[in-house]
C-alpha cells in the first residue's frame, strides 16, 4: 500500500453560535489519504466537508483530534499543536478562484516562489512550466480581470502546482464554471495529477463530479462520516438510505416482511418476487435504482403503467405498487403503453431500516447555520 499522506484521527470541530446553540460541524472524522490518490469529500451543504478541508489547510483549528500531513503532525489537541497554513506546504484551489486582481498572471503564479525566496531565473523557469501545463502560455502579462472564468481557474491551478506540493486541496473548484468547461477542467486536473503525482483532496457537493474524478470518496452528512469507499462500491453498496439517495437516482419502497416474504406496504396479498434479507425487521425500506428494475410482461409483481415519459436516452415509467408509486427507467427498446399491464422485478436491492423522523429535523436545523 502506498504511503499515507493525510491522516485525520478523531477530528472534531465544535462551533458555538448565538442563535442555534452549539453545533458539531465535524464529528469524529477518521480517514487516511494515500500518496497519489484522488480523494473526494462529498455531502450536502452543512455536512462539514468545507470545515474538514479548512482544518487540513490550517484555516481552522480543531477542537479535538489530530491531523498529520506526510507523517508530520500539524494540528493536535492533545499536543496543543497548530502549524499555520503557510508552513503546511500545500496547494489549494478555492471556489471563488482567489486570483489576486492586482497581480498579472505571471505575478500570481510566481508569488509562492517569491515567498520562498527562489532565485529569479528559477522562478522564470518554473512559472513558465506551470503556465505551459495549464495552457496559459502567452498570457503572462495579462491581468485576471481580462480573462474568462476558466482561465482564472487555470491561474489558480498553475499557482498551486508551481511549488510542486505533495497534497493539493480543492474546494469546489469547478462549481463556478459552466458545465462544458467543468468537464474539460476535470480532465485537465487528472492529467496534471498523473504528471506531477500529487495527492488530491477534493471537496464538492456534486456527486457526478466526485464520481468521475475520485479513486475513493467520503460521503458525509450532518458532520458525520457516512461511508468511505470507491465510487463503484458507494454506488452499488451504499451503507444507508442517505448515501443511496445522495449518489445517483434512487427509488425507495416501504416494505413489510412476513414469513420470509416481502410485501409492498399497502398490498399484503401479492408478495414481491424477492427473498427477504437475513435478520430482517418487520418493516424496512427497500432501495433500488430506477434503472435496476426490470419491467416485463409476466415475471414478477403484477401492476400497470400509470405514466410514461419519453426522455432522450431512456423511457421513464411510473407504476403503482401497494399504496406507493415506483419510478422505473428502461432503455427505449422496452416499451409499454400508458395503462398497459406489466410486471416489475427488482435486481439486488438494498435494505435499510425505517428512518428516524428526528434526523430530518436535525438536517434542516443545520442548513440554517
Amino acid at each position: 500500500m502506498a504511503q499515507v499522506q493525510v491522516q485525520l484521527t478523531n477530528v472534531t470541530k465544535r462551533f458555538v453560535t448565538k442563535t442555534l446553540g452549539d453545533i458539531v460541524a465535524v464529528d469524529d472524522f477518521n480517514f487516511e489519504v494515500y500518496e497519489g490518490e484522488c480523494f473526494s469529500i462529498l455531502g450536502p451543504s452543512g455536512c462539514g466537508k468545507t470545515t474538514a478541508l479548512r482544518m487540513i489547510a490550517g484555516f481552522e483549528d480543531l477542537t479535538e483530534g489530530e491531523i498529520h500531513l506526510g507523517g508530520r503532525p500539524v494540528s493536535s489537541s492533545r499536543k496543543n499543536l497548530y502549524v499555520p497554513p503557510e508552513e503546511r506546504d500545500l496547494g489549494m484551489v478555492f471556489q471563488a478562484f482567489a486570483v489576486w486582481p492586482h497581480k498579472n498572471v505571471f505575478e500570481n503564479v510566481a508569488y509562492p516562489l517569491r515567498i520562498k525566496k527562489v532565485q529569479r531565473a528559477e522562478i522564470e523557469r518554473r512559472v513558465k512550466e506551470a503556465l505551459h501545463h495549464t495552457s496559459l502560455t502567452g498570457l503572462e502579462k495579462t491581468y485576471p480581470s481580462d480573462l474568462s472564468g476558466g482561465q482564472q481557474q487555470r491561474i489558480a491551478l498553475a499557482r498551486s502546482i508551481v511549488t510542486n506540493p505533495k497534497v493539493m486541496l480543492l474546494d469546489e473548484p469547478l462549481s463556478n464554471l459552466d458545465p462544458h468547461l467543468r468537464e474539460t477542467m476535470r480532465f485537465e486536473l487528472k492529467e496534471l495529477q498523473s504528471k506531477f503525482g500529487f495527492t488530491i483532496i477534493f471537496v464538492t457537493h456534486d456527486q457526478s463530479e466526485a464520481m468521475a474524478i475520485s479513486d475513493r470518496m467520503l460521503v458525509a452528512d450532518m458532520g458525520k462520516i457516512m461511508q468511505i469507499d470507491t465510487p463503484e462500491n458507494l454506488y452499488n453498496r451504499p451503507i444507508n438510505r442517505f448515501v443511496h439517495s445522495f449518489l445517483g437516482e434512487s427509488t425507495f419502497l416501504n416494505v413489510v416482511i412476513k414469513d420470509g416474504k416481502v410485501y409492498a406496504k399497502g398490498d399484503m396479498e401479492h408478495p414481491l418476487d424477492l427473498e427477504a434479507p437475513p435478520n430482517a425487521e418487520s418493516e424496512m425500506i427497500m432501495a433500488t435504482r430506477p434503472n435496476a428494475i426490470e419491467l416485463t410482461a409476466d415475471k414478477g409483481y403484477q401492476t400497470h403503467v400509470q405514466t410514461r415519459i419519453f426522455l432522450t436516452d431512456r423511457t421513464e415509467y411510473v407504476v403503482p405498487i401497494g399504496n406507493q408509486t415506483l419510478k422505473v427507467q428502461t432503455p427505449h427498446r422496452i416499451t409499454f403503453a400508458q395503462g398497459e399491464s406489466c410486471s416489475v422485478r427488482f435486481v439486488e436491492p438494498m435494505w435499510y431500516p425505517v428512518e428516524d423522523p428526528e434526523a430530518e429535523k436535525e438536517r434542516q436545523r443545520r442548513q440554517l447555520i
Partner: protein
C-alpha cells in the same frame, strides 16, 4: 529544532489566533480610548462634576439663561430649515440631472458637486460682502439705483444663514440620490408602466419610495452638519447678535480668555449641543424610518429618461442660474474684493491692486498659517488613514470580542460637533491629565484625527468587504505568513480606497475652522483661522485675498486627486 517549532506553534495556539491580529486589536482599542473616549469623558466629567461631586447645577445654570435658550432655538431652527430646503433642492436636482433629458447632464452633474468642495465660511463671507445690511455692495447699489432709504436685503439674519448653508449642504442629498437613481434597476419602473401607471405616478409611487433610504441618509448628513456648523453663523450672525450653540460656545471661550470657568461653561453648553444633535438623530430616525431595500443593484444601468418637452430649456436655465448664484457669484466676489485697494471702494479696475496678495504672502503670520494647515492636513490625513484602515481591518476581518464597541467608537466623533470635540480635547490635553499640548499644533492634530477618523474607516471598511477572505487564504497556502499576506495581497488591494480616504480627510482639514478656531495659539493659526481673524480685524480685502488663495489651493489639489484616481486600474 523540534522543540523550537513546538514552542512557536504553541504561542500561536495560546492566543487562538496569530499574534499579529492580537497586536492590531489591542492597538485599535488603545488608540480609540486615547483619541475618542478620553476627550468625551472629560466633557461629561466637567459638565456634571464640581469639586468631585456630581451635580446638575452647571447644566441648569446654563438652561436658565435666555442667551442659551435662544442659541438652542436658533440652532434647531436653522438645522431644521436647512435640512428641509437642502433636501428638497438636492432631490429635485438629482432627479433633473439623473433622470430627465436636460442638456449637458454629465457636465452639470460634476458642476453641481462644486458647492460641496466650496468652504461654506468663504461663501458666507462673500454674501456678507454683497448683502450686508449696512455695507453690502449689492445692497448699496440697489439703494442708489432705486433710491431706497434702507437695504432691501439683509443676509445677517436667520434666513440669510439658512440660505448660505443650504447652498453648500444640498449636495449631500444630491450626490446620494443621484447615485441611487443610477444604480436602481430600471425594470422596477418599467414594470410599473406596464401595470398601467402614468409617468408622474411612477415617480411618486415607485421611484421616490425606492430612493427614500438615500434621501434619508443625505438629509441626516445635512442635519448633523448644520446643527454643528460654526463658520456661517459666526460670520453672518455675530454682528446681529444671532448665536447658535457652536458660536455661543466659541463666544464663551473667547470672552473668558481661556479661564477654567469659561471652559466649564463651554463643557455644559457642549452637553446641550450633543443632546440637541442626539434628539435630532432620534427624530430623523422616527420620521424617515425605512428599511434598506435590496432593489438597488451595484451595476450601472441605462434608465429611461423622462422627456421634459417644453420645460426642458427653462429648467436648464434654472439649473444654470442656481449654479451661478451659489458658486460663481461668491467666487467672483471673493476674488474681486481680494483685489480692491480698500474695503468699500467700488469694484472697478481703477481700484484694483495686487498689494493685498503681496501683503499676505509676505506676512509671516499668514504664510505660517498656510504652512500649519498643510502640515496638519497632511499628517492628519496620513495618521487617520492608517488608523482608520487598522480599525477597519480589525472590525471587518478579525472581529474580536467587542467589535461593535470598536465600530461605534470610531464613528462616534463624526456625529459629535467639532466644537464639542475641541472642548473635549482642550479639557483632556491641556495639563489636567499630565500632558499639556495647549498652544501647540499637536492639540489641533489630535482633534483633527478624532474628527476625521471615521472618514477613512468607512472607505477602508467598504474596500475590505470587497476583498474575499480566500484571497488572503490563497496567499497563506502559497507559504506567505499572516504579515506577508497582509502586505502583498490585502494592502495593495485596498490602497486605492486608502488614498481616497486620505484626500477625504486632507481637503476638509485644509479649510477647517470649527475646531481650530478654539484650539489655535499665537503660532498655530490655521488657514481658516487666519482668514477668520483677518476679517474679524476688519481687513476684508486681505481676508478675501487669502480666501482666494485657499480656493485656488483646494481646486488645484482636487484636480491632482482626480488625475491620480482616474487612471487607476479597476480592481
Amino acid at each position: 529544532m523540534i522543540n523550537l517549532r513546538r514552542n512557536k506553534d504553541l504561542a500561536a495556539v495560546e492566543g487562538r489566533r496569530i499574534g499579529l491580529d492580537n497586536v492590531m486589536t489591542a492597538l485599535a482599542f488603545v488608540l480609540l480610548l486615547v483619541i475618542v473616549v478620553i476627550p468625551i469623558s472629560m466633557i461629561i466629567y466637567n459638565a456634571f462634576f464640581h469639586e468631585g461631586k456630581f451635580t446638575f447645577n452647571l447644566i441648569v445654570e446654563q438652561l436658565t439663561r435666555s442667551t442659551t435658550l435662544s442659541s438652542m432655538w436658533n440652532t434647531i431652527k436653522i438645522g431644521g430649515l436647512v435640512t428641509l430646503f437642502g433636501t428638497i433642492m438636492g432631490v429635485f436636482y438629482a432627479w433633473l440631472l439623473g433622470r430627465s433629458n436636460i442638456p449637458g447632464k454629465k457636465l452639470m452633474r460634476s458642476l453641481f458637486t462644486i458647492p460641496y468642495m466650496f468652504p461654506p465660511f468663504l461663501g458666507a463671507m462673500a454674501w456678507d460682502l454683497l448683502l450686508n445690511g449696512r455695507s453690502g455692495y449689492l445692497n448699496r447699489w440697489m439703494m442708489q439705483t432705486f433710491n431706497l432709504s434702507s437695504a432691501p436685503l439683509n443676509i445677517n439674519t436667520i434666513w440669510g444663514i439658512v440660505f448660505v448653508e443650504v447652498s453648500y449642504y444640498f449636495p449631500f442629498v444630491f450626490m446620494q440620490v443621484v447615485s441611487a437613481l443610477e444604480r436602481m434597476d430600471p425594470t422596477l419602473e418599467e414594470s410599473a408602466r406596464i401595470a398601467g401607471a402614468k409617468q408622474g405616478t411612477v415617480i411618486r409611487t415607485i421611484t421616490l419610495p425606492l430612493v427614500v433610504p438615500a434621501i434619508s441618509a443625505g438629509a441626516l448628513l445635512i442635519l448633523i452638519s448644520s446643527l454643528a456648523h460654526f463658520g456661517v453663523p459666526a460670520i453672518l450672525g455675530f454682528s446681529q447678535g444671532i448665536f447658535t450653540l457652536p458660536t455661543r460656545i466659541f463666544a464663551v471661550i473667547s470672552r473668558s480668555g481661556g479661564s477654567f470657568e469659561g471652559i466649564r461653561q463651554a463643557a455644559a453648553l457642549s452637553i446641550l449641543l450633543v443632546v440637541v444633535v442626539a434628539l435630532a438623530l432620534l427624530l430623523q430616525r422616527k420620521v424617515l424610518s425605512s428599511g434598506g431595500y435590496d432593489i438597488i443593484k451595484g451595476k450601472s444601468m441605462r434608465p429611461t429618461l423622462i422627456n421634459l418637452r417644453g420645460a426642458r430649456i427653462p429648467l436648464f436655465i434654472l439649473a444654470l442660474v442656481t449654479l451661478a448664484v451659489i458658486v460663481m457669484v461668491p467666487l467672483i466676489m471673493i476674488f474681486l474684493v481680494g483685489l480692491v485697494r480698500a474695503y468699500g471702494l467700488p469694484l472697478i479696475p481703477a481700484n484694483f491692486t495686487l498689494a493685498n496678495y503681496t501683503r499676505i504672502l509676505t506676512t509671516s503670520g499668514t504664510l505660517d498659517s498656510i504652512k500649519n494647515s498643510l502640515i496638519l492636513a497632511i499628517s492628519a490625513g496620513i495618521i487617520s488613514m492608517t488608523l482608520g484602515t487598522l480599525i477597519a481591518y480589525v472590525v471587518q476581518k478579525i472581529k474580536p470580542r467587542g467589535t461593535g464597541v470598536l465600530e461605534i467608537l470610531s464613528v462616534l466623533p463624526y456625529s459629535i460637533p467639532g466644537t464639542v470635540l475641541a472642548i473635549g480635547v482642550i479639557l483632556a490635553w491641556s495639563g489636567s491629565l499630565g500632558i499639556n499640548l495647549y498652544n501647540t499644533l499637536w492639540i489641533i492634530l489630535v482633534a483633527y484625527i478624532a474628527r476625521y477618523l471615521s472618514f477613512s474607516m468607512k472607505t477602508s471598511s467598504a474596500a475590505l468587504l470587497q476583498v474575499h477572505p480566500s484571497l488572503e487564504e490563497a496567499a497563506r497556502t502559497c507559504g506567505a505568513t499572516h504579515t506577508e499576506s497582509l502586505k502583498d495581497i490585502t494592502l495593495p488591494l485596498i490602497r486605492p480606497a486608502m488614498i481616497s480616504g486620505f484626500f477625504l480627510i486632507f481637503l476638509p482639514a485644509m479649510r477647517e475652522v470649527t475646531t481650530s478656531v478654539l484650539l489655535y495659539g499665537p503660532y498655530t493659526r490655521t488657514l481658516g483661522v487666519q482668514i477668520y481673524s483677518l476679517r474679524d480685524a476688519g481687513m476684508m480685502p486681505q481676508a478675501a485675498a487669502l480666501g482666494s488663495v485657499a480656493i485656488v489651493l483646494i481646486i488645484v489639489i482636487n484636480a491632482i486627486v482626480n488625475a491620480i484616481t482616474a487612471d487607476r486600474k479597476g480592481v
